[in-house]
């Protein structure tokens, strides 16, 4: 496989995943913005949404105020924001088109179909009640793409690089959501069980679509450490850091045996995995949740960089 192909497949998956994550983030933010409360809190919520999405700076460079319409427009439609859903879909489709030969027909038609349909949306004519429908549609299209991939792709390097893109992006996303909101999870700064916390905690869970599954797993009302445990260490939760890293580890193992060679990125992934296995949530809180997350994000980035080096993404 060409190095360029591996690079495009990796980023194609990352952008599909990013579009989906962005849809969840907007959904969670929008829900809080709808709650009857003081205006400033709503702004605060959008500020942290932008922070989680990693594009707060760019937003403030072009918008003066933090109002729902501007934020949603910026995150959903603004192509000058490389992480907006529109930009993600454009980039994903461009990568797919550049690698048509590596994709199955089903994968290509799925991504091309999403792109064509998104092109036909006219943001200026959208009524606000269309937003939930669009966000649902985006999650659905992302799921359709992954479904097409899982059902049709050959289990060779095409698949492994696609998996790496998806789960590195997902791990980064979950870690950033937690980090932006880590303070609401700290027991010392809040009155436990207060209404505000519940709303915040639920927002965190919603932004990774885990507010219902939480109940099934913990059979209890929201507790900050359990939420952190769920999103960081729980193996069953498909968006947890631990779950992402079993997929990353597996893809890198498969790549190593396919190519008959182990690269440094594999060691990095195994190390991250062993950290996630050894830690328990109390220890993480004790040594600092924020520090833990910052360290994880840095390691995750290093892993991605090592993968691109090891497999000649750009040469």
């Amino acid at each position: 496989m060409l190095g360029r192909t591996a690079n495009d497949l990796f980023w194609l998956s990352r952008y599909v995943e990013r579009a989906e994550n962005m849809a969840r983030l907007i959904e969670a933010g929008y829900r809080i913005a709808l709650l009857p409360r003081v205006g400033e809190d709503g702004k605060q919520e959008w500020a942290s949404t932008l922070e989680s999405a990693g594009c707060a700076e760019q937003y403030h460079a072009r918008h003066g105020t933090l109002d729902t319409r501007s934020v949603v427009d910026f995150l959903l439609f603004d192509v000058s924001n490389p992480s907006s859903i529109h930009a993600c879909i454009d980039t994903a489709r461009r990568n797919a088109r550049a690698q048509r030969t590596a994709l199955t027909r089903e994968m290509w038609e799925s991504i091309n179909g999403s792109w064509l349909e998104f092109q036909s949306l006219r943001p200026d004519t959208l009524r606000s009640d269309a937003l939930p429908r669009i966000l649902d549609w985006i999650k659905e299209r992302s799921a359709a793409y992954r479904g097409a991939m899982l059902n049709t792709i050959l289990r060779n390097d095409t698949f492994f690089f696609s998996q790496l893109g998806t789960f590195l992006e997902r791990a980064d996303n979950t870690a950033r959501i937690l980090d932006v909101k880590y303070y609401v999870l700290l027991p010392s700064t809040t009155m436990i069980g207060s209404g505000v916390d519940n709303v915040q905690w639920e927002a965190i869970l919603r932004s990774v679509s885990a507010h219902r599954s939480y109940r099934w797993v913990y059979k209890d009302s929201y507790r900050s450490w359990r939420i952190a445990d769920y999103l960081i260490l729980n193996r069953a939760m498909p968006r947890s850091l631990r779950a992402c890293y079993s997929e990353i580890d597996k893809a890198l193992d498969d790549l190593s045996s396919l190519y008959g060679e182990q690269k440094p990125c594999l060691a990095t992934a195994k190390q991250i995995l062993s950290i996630l296995d050894k830690e328990d949530i109390d220890a993480i809180f004790q040594s600092g949740l924020h520090e833990f997350l910052l360290d994880f994000i840095a390691r995750n980035n290093r892993g991605a960089h090592e993968i691109s080096e090891a497999y000649h993404f750009s040469s």
Binding site: R4, R97, W108, L116, D157, Y259
Partner: protein, 479 residues
């Protein structure tokens, strides 16, 4: 095609109705289908087909990179049908022609016997900008230069076909031949049950076999093949990706390639991998900046040296443009006679080389009925279409031809055949041509079919997609 845009002089032969003496036999079943289907139904199907093409991404890019500039080539659902016996005749003629063209290229890049024999003027070859001196003495695998040729044919009556052009550089359109068939079979399976249509889907397999057969000789293992594309924004990008995919080979761009230790390599996830056969869809000028175009940043530095040393096969070879040059075209019948020892089976459009005094006299006397072209002009520039030109234009051209006769050729205005086509006004006859794709390797391979291009504007003889032309599925019937 642009030379024959003129108004129609004579009634055209219709593929379905001939000259009006009833439905021609190959069209019997399709004619019945058209008669029994309501026009609204056809239009609905037509819209469905368009959606299908868009979803699959069968587009061609219009230059300038916005993705919104991806266009569809209009697809017409009424097929163009060729009877088995007609196809046999065409096949024989095409085979003869492509063999002669390759023999001609081998000769002019080696001993130049045809020039020594006085059958073709030396300066026509040597001073031709399409002649590539760097190719002199190069020994391509199996002695083949043009491995893929698209021959543009037009028909003027029941038994008259003419070759309008031999595309010996990087002919395109074969993906439309294949996708048009896919679409037709998907939408109208019953038509294929009622007609014995020869399959075309063996093309990618034939292409692969052809490419493998011309791999450098000393290979121990299976040859590694790659398709070289200028990239995403090239107008034929879809086709490049399509063919690579259908053959199961890598689609590469120049930056993916590097010459090292005298061989061509592609940069893979596991380091460098050797490439043995490069099916390139880029022009000569963008192959190797060290040899062909020093100003270009595109291409693979050193590629030509690897080629000369016989360590990679470039398909088609550099320098094949000499075989489809306009000035050479009128000599093709002589070229065929010279190398094949027999008269050509397929006719050229009669061409008057104004360098010859007889021809010049005829052209000057009949200018208002002819298409007159500059030898090195293209894209419709420097040309006169007699029947649709004014008196003054004809006179002005007469002066120019008299001043530099060797610079001009002339051809009669042909009445291209038509085929029923779904257009705004309903089903109406539209002019068309035919481009079969021939593969030349260890053997000559020709899939029964080709690309039929149709001029969608009434009376127009211009079938080019850039001029609003469309395509049709092309059926070759089996006995």
């Amino acid at each position: 095609m642009e030379q024959i845009r003129a108004a129609e002089l004579t009634p055209s032969f219709d593929e379905m109705n001939g000259f009006g003496q009833g439905i021609r036999e190959p069209y019997a079943a399709v004619s019945e289908w058209l008669n029994s289907t309501r026009i609204e139904e056809l239009r609905k199907k037509s819209a469905e087909a368009e959606l299908l093409f868009r979803r699959t991404g069968i587009t061609f890019a219009v230059y300038g990179d916005a993705e919104s500039a991806e266009r569809l080539i209009p697809f017409d659902m009424i097929p163009r049908i060729i009877a088995a016996a007609e196809w046999r005749r065409l096949t024989a003629g095409i085979e003869q022609r492509v063999k002669a063209l390759n023999a001609f290229m081998y000769d002019i890049y080696h001993r130049q016997e045809i020039i020594k024999a006085g059958r073709i003027p030396a300066e026509l070859v040597i001073q031709n900008s399409a002649f590539v001196p760097e190719m002199i003495g190069v020994e391509p695998a199996l002695g083949i230069y043009a491995h893929i040729i698209g021959i543009d044919l037009v028909r003027t009556s029941e038994n008259e076909f003419y070759v309008l052009e031999d595309n010996t550089r990087t002919p395109s359109g074969v993906s439309y031949m294949l996708e048009n068939r896919e679409t037709m079979m998907h939408m109208f399976p019953h038509l294929f049950a009622e007609n014995r249509v020869a399959p075309v889907e063996t093309y990618p397999d034939n292409l692969r076999k052809t490419l493998e057969s011309v791999a450098p000789e000393r290979l121990q293992s299976d040859p590694v093949i790659a398709v070289l594309t200028p990239g995403l924004y090239n107008s034929a990008y879809f086709e490049h990706a399509f063919l690579a995919d259908q053959m199961g080979v890598e689609l590469v761009e120049a930056p993916d390639l590097v010459v090292m230790d005298g061989v061509l390599n592609m940069k893979t996830t596991q380091g460098l991998t050797r490439v043995d056969v490069l099916y390139r869809r880029v022009d000569d000028d963008f192959l190797d900046p060290l040899t062909f175009n020093p100003d270009s940043v595109l291409g693979v530095p050193g590629l030509f040296d690897v080629y000369r040393a016989g360590n990679v096969t470039i398909v088609n070879a550099p320098g094949t443009g000499i075989a489809d040059d306009k000035a050479i075209y009128s000599y093709i019948p002589e070229i065929i006679e010279f190398y094949m020892g027999r008269p050509p089976i397929l006719k050229n459009v009669p061409t008057y080389n104004c360098r010859k005094p007889d021809a010049l006299r005829y052209v000057l006397d009949n200018m208002q009925e002819l298409v007159v072209k500059e030898v090195h002009g293209s894209g419709g520039y420097g040309m006169l279409v007699g029947p649709s030109a004014t008196r003054d234009e004809v006179e002005a051209f007469r002066t120019r031809v008299k001043a530099r006769p060797e610079n001009y050729i002339a051809q009669p205005t042909l009445a291209l055949s038509t085929c029923p086509t779904l257009v705004e006004e309903g089903i109406a006859p539209r002019h068309l041509d035919l481009r079969p794709f021939v593969l030349i390797g260890d053997e000559v391979r020709l899939v029964p079919g080709g690309l039929t291009r149709v001029a969608l504007r009434k009376g127009s003889l211009v079938v080019n997609s850039s001029q609003g032309g469309g395509t049709k599925d092309t059926w070759v019937l089996q006995d």
